[in-house]
Structure formats: structure tokens, C-alpha cells
């Protein structure tokens, strides 16, 4: 699971959970791979992100690096910044671990890089 995906995940589908965002990450295995960098892609993605969530997630798994806690203004033209974001968004993957619902504490297991967000019938 890439952090970009995590940025969109919620547990609001759980019964009784209204926001369910952001999900906590308990990472057991993290894989860092190399992904082709596309500055335009990253620049277009950043506005769609919840930056605080991304930063927190990166910090929680120890890959926040030099990312600023708040989004810089000129990120579109800051190549280095984009590369850092690229690294965090696409190159860092949680292979095994858990996602935690912030409200209910429900765990969603991540196995082999695949989060299992299925809910039990009584959780819907």
C-alpha cells in the first residue's frame, strides 16, 4: 500500500464511524522501491492530497524525511520537493501491517501490500 492510497482511505463505512480518517498505520514491513519520477504527475496529485495526513503517515512509518509539515506554496516548481513527495507517495510501500480506524480502533490488515478493507456483515 502506497501512502498515496492511504491518503484516500477511510473507515467511514464502518457502522458508527462518521469520519474514519485518517487511518493509523502500524507498519511491520515497509518496502522502498524506485518508481519513475514524473514531476507533472506529482504536481497534479499534491492538490488532491490531505497533506497533513500524508505527513503524519510518513512520519508514523519513519519515512517522512525532510518533508515539511505544511505544504509549501511553490511546490509545483520545486523539483526537489516534488521528488521528496514522489518518494513518500509512490516509493514507500507498507507491505505488512495494519490500518487502524481512528474512531473504533478496528484493524484492517495489510498483507503482501494489499489492505483488506472488507467488513463483516455486522460492521456495515
Amino acid at each position: 500500500m502506497k501512502l498515496l492510497t492511504h491518503n484516500m482511505l477511510t473507515s467511514k463505512c464502518l457502522k458508527g464511524v462518521t469520519v474514519g480518517y485518517p487511518l493509523g498505520i502500524v507498519a511491520k514491513d515497509i518496502k522502498v522501491s524506485e518508481v519513475d519520477f514524473n514531476s507533472e504527475f506529482i504536481a497534479r496529485i499534491i492538490p488532491k492530497l490531505d497533506w497533513a495526513t500524508l505527513w503524519k503517515a510518513a512520519e508514523s512509518i519513519g519515512h517522512v524525511g525532510e518533508l515539511p509539515q505544511t505544504l509549501i506554496q511553490d511546490f509545483e516548481t520545486n523539483e526537489e520537493f516534488l521528488k521528496k513527495v514522489h518518494h513518500v507517495l509512490l516509493e514507500v510501500e507498507v507491505i505488512n501491517g495494519d490500518l487502524l480506524c481512528p474512531e473504533s480502533g478496528r484493524k484492517f490488515p495489510i498483507n503482501d501490500g494489499i489492505p483488506n478493507m472488507l467488513l463483516n456483515e455486522d460492521e456495515v
Binding site: 498515496l4 484516500m8 482511505l9 519513475d36 497534479r44 494489499i114 483488506n116 456483515e121
Partner: protein
Amino acid sequence: MSESDGEQVARSVALEQAYVHEVYEQCAEKTVQSRHWPRIYQFLEELEPGALVCDIGCGNGKYLSVNHSIFKVGVDRCKRFTDIAREKENEVLICDNLALPFRDESFDAVLSIAVVHHFATTERRVHALKELARVLRIGGRLVISVWAMEQKHRKFESQDVLVPWPKAYCINSLSNRSKRSSVPHTTDLHCNQNAQKFLSSSKRNSQRKCKSKSYWIDPIFSPSPSTSSLSSPNETCYSFFRRALQKLAGSRRGSGNRPWFLDSWQSGSGKNRKDYEQEEPPDVDELPIELRRVENVNVTLNKQSDSLSIKSKSLGDILEIQRLDLVRSRSSIPGLCSMLTSELNLDGESRTSSSMSGSKPRLVKQKTHLVDDTGLEHPDNTAIQELFKDIPDFQVTPGHYLKRGSILKQSSMNEELMSTDRLEEKERVRRNIMKQASLNEDIICKGKTFESLRDSLYSVNATKRFQLLKSGLTNKIKQSTTNIEVSGISIKNGFVKILQGWKSSENDTNTANESIDEASKTKGNDSKVQPATTPKRETEVIERRLSREDGSDSSKDSSLQSDTSVDSEDSFASVIFVPKQEAQPTTEAVIPASGGHQLGSISAPPSPRVKHPPDTPNSRMKVISISPLLKQFPATSKSLPPPSPPGLSPSCTLNPVFTRPFFGSNVVASQQQASGDNTVNAKRTEVLNNGYHPPTNDDSQANKKNIESEICGRNNFLEGKKPSLQTIRAYRSMTESLEVEEPKTIKDTTPLLPVDSPDVSLQEKGTFEISKEEESRKVRLNQIKELLKQKPGFATRTKPSFPLVRRASTTASGRLEAVTKVLPRLLSLELFNPETDDLDSDSSGVSSPDSVGSVISVISDERYMAKKDNTKSECTESEILDSSAENVSDPSDVTADESSGYVADSKEDETKTTGDSSSSQSSRLLEAAANVASSLEDAVETAITKTHTKPYPTQVAQQESVESSAGSDTKVKTKSDIQLPEVEDTWNEECRKHLIDFTEKLSENLMHGLDENKNDQNILDKPFLSKKNLDKRNVESLPSYDVSSSIPNKSKYNDLSNTIAWLSNTNNGFNEEMHRSTSDDIMDFVMVSNTGEFMNEKETSSLDKQSSEKSYLRSANSIGSSDIGESIDNTISFSDGSRADSTGRLCSSMMSLLSNTNEYPKSYAEKRRLQLQRRSASEETPPRYPDNSKRSTDCLVTTTGSNDSLTGSSSQESLPSDRGGGAITYHQYYHVFREGELDQLINKYVENLHIISSYYDHASWCIVAEKVQVWTI
């Protein structure tokens, strides 16, 4: 009926779970990467860079790699699909379309391809659409495609249908498209074909954009949903349903197709049964054969239930009736009921109703198998089987259905009717897997001894259960239907087979089984020896179990995959295979203690397979069990088989055969018993092999593992033999990795043998009708004996192995015993798979049931023969090597040296040979090798059983057989001498590589080709005389073969032909040949592989010669063989590289052709020819692998033999699975959308989606919608 919404929801959920999620889980791997739909592809390509896209129901992720400038997240509910997509470096996660774990408005685009049609109610469909819209940002685009009701090749009477997993006619298209499904998947249909149709529709669609909402909606949705909020389509569904029923009723009367549905509905619950039975055969044929079964199957699930609750009482009544019937059936047959309920998952009530179900899941499975068998007997399809099940139930008790919810009942009905088999298989597989896993873990963790103890304990319970189940099932079946009576035997046989299969597996794991078998066999000496070997065996068994488990899992996956790729039939087959493997391990763990029961349990695994065999299991069993005998009996078996369903029949038939031969042997003579035991072992081994092979086909990895394990097992056999010969060291050094597996296999084989005896006893108990079979068996045994006598090579070879083993066990070290034991198991494994596969394939109904049975037997025989030959050759080689260099760490070197020295001599001496000089060790080794080879051959010849009987009873006979085996070995060696010994070194590595390669390559092509080959072979085997004929044909074909194939391997072929002739001439003088061959063998290690195949042919030819004396039809066969030979030659020419394999196959095909020509009517011959042609085509692909392996690892004849056998087994497995799959096809639930229905849904219920375009593509209604801001004032 519908009652509360909660029930409806539960029903719909259960329906989706059973008919969508489960099916995808089972079939996900089978799906083939399909082409992108151009419009979807274009849609993705046109998205702006940086867009976030979510593919809901990504399936295998075919759209996740389209545009690299956008970020795609694939989502699917099917874990297997996500795993597949994940392997492609895609970002995926598992979730449900109804509960998407994404923030609102987080995606720029959302794909929902072939997903929404899998939801069972309008409410759920709308909910899914709303979820899609929720995660889509304002202005984002949503692409939705759903299956269209208006399809060119499918006409749906109802919008809610259960569609069998892609079958033959739509295989290609379906397999391609089926890949993707999240919650549901895409069962593609003939989209392309339909496309034409919908050019017009697309035009309309363009118009729709303007008109769409009101225009389309009105006609379809005119009825207002009163109770249900989203009731719109209900009325239409009802009307459709009614129409469909009427049509069905009318058509049924006319055609007699699918009458049961109509009858039940129209006439009511009770009376229809008899009608069904009568009509069933035709119905079954059509239903299973035609994919359109879906139409018939079309069961309006949710809507119906809704309608029942809301509006239409008639539908509700129908449903109720069905439910009642189902309930009754369950009550009447607790086991079956439990099975159904467990499978269905939907009905907790049903479980409760069946008190026994909980405690006896396995039994239930078996029962279901039995039922399937009965159904198979009638004819053809699972639907029929299901009907049978239902029918008895109906008759017996109409009572409980009222309690159950209508939807549940419907689902249960549908499931039972449509997918009871599937469900059962799935459940079985799962259980088996679970059990296997648990067993494996237990075994691994706790240790060998503990395992044995546990197994013993389990075995007792299992045996009891099995017995109870058997008795109950048989009684029920007999009582329930006249047809059932006929099938009763088959059922019994099936049980026995199943039990045997389970037992065999268990036996493999446990030595206790062996001891039991020994006791039953009255081999005190062996029993003593066995204990020593048992510990090793246990360890080995454990390993084997692991490998098996892996294989089983893979087999499951593979089965699923294969099903999707090939057909629904494939899926069945695969499913069947999986259960077998799983069942075996589970049963093994449970049953091990009780030998007899264990045997029964062993048979259980094949039971799933049994479903496939359309013909009566008995006939098949006979044929399979006694490959030689079977050949003689084929006619009888054929007559019986047609009624019995293919799937069940094979396993059942195998077991009965075993039991029968045993009985007959016991009654007739101790020798016969021994032969019967051997045959049984061989059968078991075959069964096991079959089970293993299928898995290999399934998943490449899993397949690889399985194949490796199998190969290892084979290697182990060889090694084990060698060790027994004192050459074990060298072999071990050669195949270190294989060694571990080998011991396991050895252990397995050993247990299998003992198990056989218990099985026999069990079978005896259950075999009321067996007496006839026994008689036939006796006759066969006698014939076999005669044949063996006439054909010293085979008989001696086969016999010696057993005797040698026994001797070794008694007199010699435990190694020999272990080796012998191992061999039988391995053999049994191989035999099981091909046979079952064959049966399955037959059952699938592709070819006539007769052909199936015959094919199975023939294939097994031929393959077995080849395997045996290979093993023999290997053994001889190993022996020779051992004798030459006992301490040879590098057998290849020693062998090479020796071979180099011998080669020249051997070449000259091959025909001349009087090498009595072979040292005692060498002779021992040769004997051991001969024994091993004979054991292998016996396994192959299990049908022949004659050889087996001889060796067991009389040591003298064994000795003789040993000598003969030695002679055969020498022959083989001489043959192998032709080739270079150099290959030996690379042998192990090459073997491994080859195995892996084979596993991979075999996947599809091999599967098909092998299946075809197997079928052909089986068909050939059907005729009893076919063996002889085959032999003759082989002999005849060999020359032609040589000519055709001689181009590349002329020298080898010539040598082989010479050797063959020589062998045939020197049937009596095996000893001399043995010596020579031994020397030659060393030289010929490389050659052995090729020669092994040739040897097989030669052996067959020698056998043929022997048989020719006895065989009446030989002349006719020869004529046929000439034609066959030509065809074979052609095939050979095709597969130059894979000569050995191809030749072996060709020989088998030739044999089959000959047998066909001789025994079978022209029609059969034609069929066979067609099959041969297919085979040739198919063979071409498989032979390449063997060729490579052979070429590279010629030295490792065994490896090549194993490869060949593996390929054969795999092919057989794959083939049967494909064909047999038809019976067990998975059905998927679809709500097919009418034109404009989806538009209406969106317009009516999803306010914030604005339809941009609506069109028809790939048999689906596609909509591109944009999310808009909705302002509420």
C-alpha cells in the same frame, strides 16, 4: 415469504457470496488476461495526467496498467484477483463495492466494469452505484458496464440468472473477459459477436443520451415498486419469469429438455420426480452440454423473492415448492442435506435440520459425490445430479421448507440444482485445504510418530464414518431411484474409491496403514520390514503432505484457472482435483489408523473426480483398476458406464475395481490377490498421481511445486529403488532436492499398498454387486496372468518388483521395502490422477461416455507402461551403476565410464546378449530395478493386475518376474544404450528443470493436449482387447514410428526397434538380456529417457506379442494400427524434439487407435482418430518439453519417464478437468440488464450522476456518467 427486509438482504448477500464471491475466488486464477475494451482503454488514456482513478472490481488488473501518467487503485472483493493484480505491481486493495473505504470525492475517475450486475437486488445495485458516485469528485467521470440481457448468443428468460462459468462455446471470449470482477467479475460473453447486433443498439444509445431517461425507463420500470423502495424491475422480472416458465414447460414437453424445472414448478413438488428421472437423461445432456443451461438455470433470486413477498404469489409458490422439495430431500437424506447446507452456507437451518451434518462434513462430501455418481449414471451433468439429489429428497419427505426463507430456499434450490456440485467441491476443497494445512502443520510440528498415531486415531473414526456414509448412501440411493439402483454399485464403488483415496493418502502418511495392508495381505514378512521403513516413511510422508498440500492448493487455483480459461468443465475438473488432494490429506490424517477404512478414505479424494465420469463408475473402475484387465473388459464397462456420471464414476470405478480384483483374487487364488493388490496399489497411485497432476496444471507455481514433488516422488521412486539396490547414494547425490520428496513419495506409495488391502475388504463389504465385477475381475486376472505368462517381460517385470520388494522387506534391508512401498504410492498417485482426470473428462461429456472410460483406461495403461518402462530403465540403470560403482558419489561418472565400456559391447550384444556375468549385486540391483520398474509397470498395468497377482502369491513367481523384469530392464537398457550415458550427470538438474518447465509449459497446452491424449488413450483402453491390440499396434507402429521419427533419431529408433524385436523375441530369455541390458543401461542413461519411452513401446510390443497369441483381434488391430501408425508418425514428425514423449504418446495413441479400430466400432475409431489428431496437435506442445528434458537429461531416464508420466498425468488431469469440469461448473449470479435499465437506475436513484453516454459494447450496457453538483433547496 419474503418477510422482513433483513431476510431479503441476508438472502441476497448469501446469494452473492455463493454465486459471485465464491466463484471468483475459485476461478480467479483461471481467468485469462483479456483485451482491453477499446472504449475503456480510450477513456483511461484520455484522462489528464495526475488523475486518481479507482477501478472497482479490477479483477486481475487489466486496466491498472493502461495509463502511466495517472494513479490507479484497483479494488476487488476477490482476494485472489487482488493477489493477481498485485503481482503486476499494481496498487490494489480488498473491499466491497457497497462499502468503499475511500473518502468522498477522492477520485477523478471510477471504473465499474462488470460489477453492478452481480448484485442481487435493485437496492443493492443502487447502493453500489451511489458508492461509486460518492467517491467520485464533482466533475469526475464514471464508467459502468453491466451485462446485457440482450445478447446475441444468450437469450435470458429472466434477468436474474445463474450463468455457468464460461464453457466451451464462449470459452475464449469469456475467459478473456472474465478476468475482471471486483465484487462480481466479468463473465464475458460473446461480446464481439453481439457487437454487430448492437451497432443498431449503439445508434439507439446515441439517441438515448437525449431521450434516455424517460424513454427507456418507462417501458421497463413502469410498475412502481410498492413495498420495496427500488422495486422498479420487479414486475418485469416476474413476467419474464412466468414467460420463461411457460416456455420451458412447452419446450420441455417437446424436447424434454430441462423438464425438471418446469415440472416441479408446474405440476408441483412431488410428482415431478419420476418424470425427472425419466426425462433426466436428455435433460442432463442438454443442460450440462449447453451453456445455455444458464437460461434454464435462470433462477430469479432476489427479484423473485421480492416479488414473492410483494406481488407475485405464483413465483413465490414455485419457490416455495422448490424449497419444500429441497427441504424434503435434505430431511430424507441427512448426509446429503448436510452437504448441501454446508455448501450453501446460506442455510443455517438446513444444517440444524440435518443433525448429522455438523459432525460429518467429510461424509457429507462423500455422499454428495455418491449422489453425483448416481446423477452421473443417468447422464451427464451436475444439474442432473442435483436433480437426483433433490428428487429423492422430494419423494421422501416434504416437510421442512416452510420454515426457511423463500430467498434462502431459492438460493439453496438454485445452488443445489445448479451448483450443488460446485458448492460441494468448493467446500470440500476448502475443508480439505484446511484439513491439509492443519494436518501438515500437525505433522510437521509434532513429528512423524505423533502423526502416525493421530492418523491412526483419525482413521478409525473416519473409517466408521465412511462406512456409515457408504451404507447410508448406498441404501438411500438404491431406494430413491431405479437409476440409483444401477448406480448403487457405482456409488459403492465411488465410496470405496473415495475411501481408498483417502486411505491411500493417509496410508502414505502413516505406516500403520501399511501394516494393516500387510496384515490384510497376509504378508507377515513385509509387515516386519515395513516398521523399519515406516519412520522414514512418516517423515517422508510429512514432506509429501506438504508438497501435496501445496500442490492441492495450487491444484485448486489451477483448477479454477483452467476452468475459466478452458471451460466450465475445466473448473469442475479442477475443483474436483483439489478436493481429491485435499480430501486425501485430510482423510489420510483421519483414517491412517484403520487400514481398510483408510483405504476407503483414500478413495474419497477421487470421489470429486468421480463426479465427472459419466459412465458407470463400476465400469470405469474396472477398467482403470485393471488396466490390462480393463482393456479386456472395456465392453462391459462401457455398457454399464453410460448412465453413471463421469465425475464420480472414475474414482468410484477405481475403488471398486481395486476391491473387485482383490475379492476376485482372494477367491480365485493368492496370486490373483497379490495381483489385485498390486493393481489396486497402482490404481491408487494413479489416482494420487492424477490428483497431484491436476494441481500442477493449475497454478504454474503450484503446478511447479506439484510437478516437482511428483518428479521428486518419481525420482525418489527411482532413487528408492536404487537405494534398495545400494545405488541410493548416487541417486541422492544426483537429486538432493528430489531425495526429500522421494522418500515421501516412497512412503506414500508404501502406505498405499497396505491401504489397498483394507480397501479391498471395505469394498468387499460394500460390494453386493461386486460379485459380478469380481467374476469379471477374475476373468481379467486370469487373462492378465495368461498375458503375463505369455509376455514374460511385463509380467516378470511387474511381478519381480513386488516380489523383490517383498523379498527385500523380508530378507533384505528396509530400504528395499521402503522403495517398494514408495513406488506403489507414486504409482498410485499417478494412476489416480489420470484415471480420475480421464473419468472427469469423460464425464464432462465432451466425448461419449464410452470414449471417456476407454480413454481413461488406455491412457493410464499406456502412460503407466511408459512410466514403468522409464522407471524400469532407471532402475536398471541405477542397478547397473550401483553394481559397477557402489560408492559412486557421481553416478554419472561411473555410469559414463561403464557405459562407455559397455556401450560398444552392449550395442553388439544387445541382440546377442548372453551376459550371465552380471554380479550378484548387479543382479540384485537389477532385480530391485526390475521390481521397481515392475512396480511402476504394475501401477501402469494396474489394470492388468495380473502381474501383481503373480508376484505376491508366489515368491518363485516373483523371482521369475524379477528375472523377467531384469530382462525387461536389460532390454530397456539396451534400448537406452543407444543413447549416450553422458546425460546422466545433468540428469538431476535437468530433471528438475524439466519438471519445472513441464509444469509451467504443461499448463494450458499440455493440459489440453494431454487431456486429449488421455481421453484418446482412455478410449483406447476401454476395449479390453485394446491392450493387446495396442501392443500390437505399438509394435507395428514402432517400425513405422521408427521410420517417421527416424529422421532425427533414426539410429535410436532403429536400435529401439531392434531392441524391441529383440525383446519380443527374447521374452523368455530375459535374464541374458537383463545382463546385457544392465551393461547397456549404464551406457544408456541418457538414452533411457528416450529409450524408456521406446521401451514402453517395446514392452507394449512384447506384451503385444504375448497378447497377440491370445488376442483375437490382432490382425484387425494391425490394420488399424497401420493407420494409426501413420497418424502417429505424423504426430511424431510434428514433435521431433519430443520424440520420446511424443513417441510414447503416439504409441499410446497408436495403441488406442489400434484398440479402437480392433475393438471399437468404426465410429470409435473415427473418434479416436480425431482424438489422435488432436493429440498429435496437443502432443506437439508437450513433447517439446520432454524432448528437451530427454535431450538434456537423457541419462536420467527416470526423470524423463517421470516427466513423461507427469506430462501425461498433467495432460490427463488437465483434460479430464476440462471435460469433467462441465459437470461441476461454477455458476455465477448475474442480473442481466435490459436496455435502458441501468440508465433508469442512475437517473432515478443516483441524482448526482449525469449520464453522458450510453452504449452497448461486449454484450454489456455501458454508461459513462459524470458526477454533478446537486443543489438542494
